[in-house]
Symmetry: C2
Subunit: 573 residues, 2 copies
C-alpha cells in the first residue's frame, strides 16, 4: 500500500525547502500522522460507536505557534466512508485545497488512503478542527487547535494558566440513521441531543448535581478513570486562568457559567475583542471564545462550571464539571446548585451578549464601502415533499467534483453555471410560513470578484411551522468577516446607516436571531472556493449553505490527491 | 452534476456500436439506471435503516436472456460511503473491471457519482447481485439476477411456472457497528442473526406458525401489505414449478424444505446438475439452486415452506412462507407444523446432500491434470490481539488501489509484491487450536499463469476455541470451478487419486466442512484480478480471502472511472 508518486516526491522536496525557510524565521513545521477510525466509547456513560483519531476521542489537541506550518498526514481507517478534516478558523491563506471541505476544497479521502494537509497557522487564537463530510462532525470527529503567539510576541492580556473546553452535543441514534431520517419523506428530525459533552465527556444516566435536582436522576459515582467522568479544572487561588471555549455542537446553542465567578471575554474566533465582563456566556456552534477567570472565591470550596441549552426548548440536561480550588479535594461537590441557564427563549439576554462584542482597539478595520451586497434569505421549505433549508430558494446539494478543481480547470459541467440570486423577492413576508415553498435543489455558486469588498445580509424568516423562527450560526471559510450589525425584521436600505464601521468584531461565525438580520462584510482576498453555511450539522445536510468562489485562477498548484475524484479525477491527472 | 467526458462519449459510441451488433445477433443490451440509497424499512416487522435500490429492498430483479448485455448505470446516493455491486456468478468474460469488487476490480463509486457496468450474461441460470464493499451486502444491498435461455434454446427440463426465493439473514445492530466490533480488541462477534428473510421478508416478533410452537411468540396477523408479510407462492395443482433459490446470507447456512413435497435439484450456481430428489436442501451463502416441485398434494390445503439454520447452533427462528394451492385461500394456514430443520450439526446429512451433486451429462469436463496446486489452510488467528481469519497465515487487508489497475499499469508499490505461500507447514495440526497464531496482515496475491489449470485445496482446521471447526463457503470470482472432491482431516497426496474427474459439478461456490478439505479445479482463462474468499461477510471482513490474478496484461481498456482512486487515480488518467 502507498508508495511515493513523483508528485508527492516533489511535494516532499518543497516541504523540506519550506520547512528550512520556516525554521530560519523562528517558526517551524509541525508534523502529525493521524488515523481516523471508529471505536467503541462511552462519551456519556453509555457505550456507542464514535469517530476518533489515533484512538482518542475527542481527537488530539493541536498546539502550535503563530507562523508555524501544520503538516498533517491524515489516513482514513474507516471501512467504506470517505473523510476530510476542516481546520475551523484557519483561513488557509494560499492553501485553499487544505480547507478540508468535501466537494468544495477537495475530494473525500478514500478508506485506506492518506492525504497530506499542509497549511500555515498565521495568527494566534483558539480554533478547532472537525469532519466536514456528511455529518461526521456529529459522529465525534473533532478536536482542539490552539495557536499560541509567536516567540517574542505577547498576548494583550495576562494569565497564569489555561484550560480548553471543547463543547459538543451527543445523540444515541447513529449519525448514519440521523442522515437517513433527515432525507426521508416523512421527515424525521434528529431531535434534541441526549447529552451535552465537555471535552467529550457527559453524563446521560446520572448527574453530578443530582442532589440539587428535582428529577429522579441518580448521583454519578465515578472512580475517576471512566470515559464519561468529567475533566476537573484544578486551579490555585488568586490566579487568572484563560478558558479557551469552543463549540462544535451539531445543533445546540449553549450558555456557559461558572458558579460565583465572572468571566472577562477577551477573544472571539481567533480575534481579540475589547474585554468585557459577563456572568454567563452564550456560544453558538462554530464559535470560540477566550475568557479570563480570576480565582478570587473561597478556596475551601469548589465551583460548578455548567453548560446549558439556549435558543431551542431544552430537553437535555446541563453539562457540568468542577472548578477545583487548591488545596480542596476535587471530590468535594460545590455546596450550591449549578448556575441556572438563562431561559432558552430569552433572546434579549442573547442579543445583549452578542452586541457587547467589539474588536480590540488596533484591530483591522473594515473598508468603508462595499462593492457588492448579497442578501441571503434563510427559509425552511418543502421540495418534492422533502423538508429542506434554502437560501434565496436554493437548497444546496454538493456535487461530486470539488468546486476548487472544477473552477480552476474549467469543468463547466461539474455544477450549475447559473449563479444563485443576490437577493430575494421584495414581497416575501418573513414573518409568515413560506408561501412560495417551491424551492429547488442547486449547486450553483456565488462568484466574487477578487479583492472586492462584499456585504452579506443574512435574513432570517419564519420556518415551516407558524410562529417559529430559529437561530442559525453562519460560518465562513477562508476569511474572517466584520459583523457590522444586527437588526429586527426585514433588512431595509436605511439600516446600512447604522452599521458599526468603527470597531466591529472580526469573526468567522455569526448568528442570526429569530426574524432578524445580521450584516457582515469581508474582503474577497483569498483565492479559493469557500463554504459559507449554517453550522448546525443537520441544517447543512438539509441544504443550508452557499459557496463563494474568488480568484480561483490565482490558486497555485493544487495537489493531485485533492482532486482524484469526479470529473477532475477522470481527466486531470 | 456530471457531464460527459470524452472518454465516456467514446464509451457511449462503442456501446451503441456493440448494441447494434448484439441486436443483429438476436441478443440485446438491457439498460438500467439504479440509485443505491439508505431507507427506512421493516424487513422483519421492526423498522431499521436498510440499503435499497430505487426505493426497493431487496433491489429490483434483473431478468435477461443468455447472450444479452447488461448496461447498468449505478448512482451512489449514499452520503459518505462508496459503493460497488458484484454480479455474483457472472464470469465477466472479457470485462473484469465490471466484477464489482472494491479494491480488486474497481474503485468504490463515490457518493454522487455514477459508474456504468457493462457486461454480458453469457449463460442461463440463477444468479444474484450484491454489494462487495465493507459489509454492505449484510446491510441489504442485494437482489436477484435471472438469466433465461436464449431465444430458440430450451432448458433441459420442463416447468409450468417459477418463483424466486432470495434468502438472507438480518441483524438489528447496524452493519457499521458490526464492522467496528469485529475490528475491535476485545473482539465483538456479530452473533447469530435476529431474523431469516425470504425475499427480504421475515418476522422477528411474531410467527406464522405460532400455534405449532412451544415458545410464547405470538401469531403474526398480517393484512397483507406489510413490508414483513410473507410473499405467498400461489400455485395450481398438478403442475411443475421451478424454484430459483439463492442465498445471500451474511452468515447463516440454511436448509429449505416444503411440507409434503419433494424437490428435484436441477441447477446449481448457474450450471445444470444431474437431477436428484431431496426432502430438504442445504444452501450456503453464495450458492444458488433450482429445484422442481410437483404440486401433487391435496389442493384443499396449503403447505409450509420453511428455512432454518445449519452448521451453527441456531438462535434464529425458521423463516416461513406458504405454498398456496389454487383455489384454497392463501389465508388458510397449513394444518401441520412446519418441516423441522435437520439438527444443525448433523454434518452427515449436509455431506450427503453436497456429495449428491454431479454435473449434468454433457457438461464441460475438467482437464485431467493440473499445472499447479495451491493448498489454502483456513485458520482463525490472533494478530496483535485482534481476532482474524488467515489463509496460509496471511489475513487479507485490501489495498486502496484496485489490483486490476495496479497490476495492469505496473504500480508495484500498490501492494506487497511477495506472493503468499502455495502451501502451509506440513507439521501443522489442523485438529487443534492454532499453535502458531502469529499470522500477519497482507495484501499479496497469487499470480496464475494464463490458461493454466489450477487445483485449489481448501483445508479446514480448528478455530481458536478448542473443538471448534466451522463451515466456510468459498466463492470464486470470474470463473466456475469443478468440485473434484471432499475429504476428512488433512488433505494427503494420495487423495488426488479419488478425485472425481468424470462428472464433477461446475460451481462458483463450494463449502469446506469442519476439519475437512475440499478440492477444486479451474482453468485460469479469464484475464483479470479475481477475489476468492469465504462468502461469510464477517469472515471476509476479518481477512478470509485471497486474490488470484491471471493474464492481466491481456485485459483491454479499463474504463478510467473504474480506477479513479489510489495510485491509479493520481497517475493514470
Amino acid at each position: 500500500m502507498g508508495g511515493k508518486s513523483w508528485g508527492s516526491r516533489a511535494l516532499v522536496f518543497w516541504c523540506i525547502v519550506l520547512s528550512l525557510i520556516h525554521v530560519s524565521l523562528g517558526s517551524k513545521a509541525r508534523h502529525f500522522k493521524w488515523e481516523v477510525e471508529y471505536m467503541y466509547r462511552s462519551p456519556d456513560c453509555l457505550e456507542h460507536v464514535v469517530m476518533g483519531i489515533n484512538g482518542q476521542f475527542p481527537g488530539p489537541t493541536i498546539r502550535a505557534k503563530a507562523g508555524d506550518t501544520i503538516v498533517m498526514e491524515l489516513t482514513n481507517k474507516l471501512y467504506t466512508e470517505g473523510v476530510v478534516i476542516h481546520w475551523h478558523g484557519i483561513r488557509q491563506l494560499g492553501t485553499p485545497w487544505a480547507d478540508g471541505t468535501a466537494s468544495i476544497s477537495q475530494c473525500a479521502i478514500n478508506p485506506g488512503e492518506t492525504f497530506k494537509y499542509r497549511f500555515k497557522v498565521d495568527r494566534p487564537g483558539t480554533y478547532f478542527y472537525h469532519g466536514h463530510y456528511g455529518m461526521q462532525r456529529s459522529a465525534g470527529l473533532y478536536g482542539s487547535l490552539i495557536v499560541d503567539v509567536a516567540d517574542g510576541e505577547k498576548e494583550p492580556f495576562h494569565y497564569d494558566g489555561e484550560f480548553d473546553l471543547l463543547l459538543s452535543d451527543w445523540w444515541h441514534l447513529s449519525v448514519h440513521e440521523q442522515e437517513v431520517g433527515l432525507s426521508s419523506n416523512p421527515f424525521r428530525w434528529v431531535g434534541e441531543p441526549q447529552t451535552l459533552l465537555i471535552n467529550g465527556r457527559g453524563q446521560f444516566n446520572c448527574s453530578l448535581a443530582a442532589k440539587f435536582s428535582n428529577s429522579s436522576v441518580s448521583q454519578c459515582k465515578f472512580r475517576g478513570n471512566e470515559q464519561c467522568a468529567p475533566q476537573i479544572l484544578h486551579v490555585h487561588p488568586n490566579k487568572t486562568y484563560r478558558l479557551r471555549i469552543a463549540s462544535t455542537t451539531a445543533l445546540a446553542s449553549l450558555n456557559l457559567a461558572i458558579g460565583g465567578h465572572k468571566m472577562l471575554v477577551v477573544e472571539a474566533d481567533g480575534n481579540y475583542v475589547q474585554p468585557f465582563a459577563v456572568n454567563d456566556l452564550d456560544i453558538y456552534s462554530g464559535e470560540t471564545y477566550s475568557v479570563l477567570v480570576r480565582t478570587d472565591q473561597l478556596p475551601s470550596k469548589n465551583y460548578w462550571i455548567s453548560i446549558g441549552v439556549r435558543g431551542r426548548e431544552p430537553k437535555t440536561a446541563q453539562a457540568l464539571t468542577i472548578l477545583n480550588y487548591f488545596p480542596t479535594s476535587a471530590s468535594i461537590l460545590p455546596v450550591s446548585q449549578p448556575p441556572v441557564t438563562p431561559r432558552w427563549n430569552d433572546y434579549n439576554h442573547s442579543k445583549a451578549f452578542t452586541k457587547s462584542i467589539f474588536a480590540l482597539m488596533g484591530s483591522p478595520q473594515p473598508p468603508k464601502t462595499n462593492h457588492r451586497r448579497i442578501i441571503l434569505l434563510n427559509t425552511q421549505n418543502k421540495i418534492d415533499g422533502f423538508t429542506k433549508w434554502s437560501i434565496n430558494n436554493v437548497s444546496l446539494v454538493l456535487p461530486p467534483t470539488p468546486y476548487l478543481g472544477s473552477i480552476k480547470y474549467g469543468f463547466n459541467n461539474a455544477f450549475d453555471q447559473k449563479h444563485p440570486p443576490d437577493n430575494y423577492d421584495n414581497n416575501y413576508d418573513i414573518m409568515k410560513p413560506p408561501v412560495n415553498p417551491n424551492s429547488t435543489h442547486g449547486n450553483g455558486i456565488y462568484t466574487i470578484d477578487f479583492n472586492t469588498t462584499v456585504d452579506v445580509i443574512l435574513q432570517n424568516a419564519n420556518a415551516l411551522a407558524k410562529d417559529v423562527s430559529e437561530i442559525h450560526p453562519w460560518h465562513l471559510h477562508g476569511h474572517d468577516f466584520w459583523v457590522l450589525g444586527y437588526g429586527e425584521g426585514k433588512f431595509r436600505e436605511e439600516d446600512e446607516k447604522k452599521f458599526n464601521l468603527k470597531n466591529p468584531p472580526l469573526r468567522n461565525t455569526a448568528v442570526i436571531f429569530p426574524y432578524g438580520w445580521t450584516a457582515l462584510r469581508f474582503v474577497a482576498d483569498n483565492p479559493g472556493a469557500w463554504a459559507f453555511h449554517c453550522h448546525i450539522e443537520p441544517h447543512l445536510h438539509m441544504g443550508m449553505g452557499v459557496v463563494f468562489a474568488e480568484g480561483v485562477h490565482r490558486v497555485g498548484k493544487i495537489p493531485k490527491t485533492a482532486l482524484a475524484c469526479g470529473l477532475t479525477g477522470n481527466k486531470l491527472n
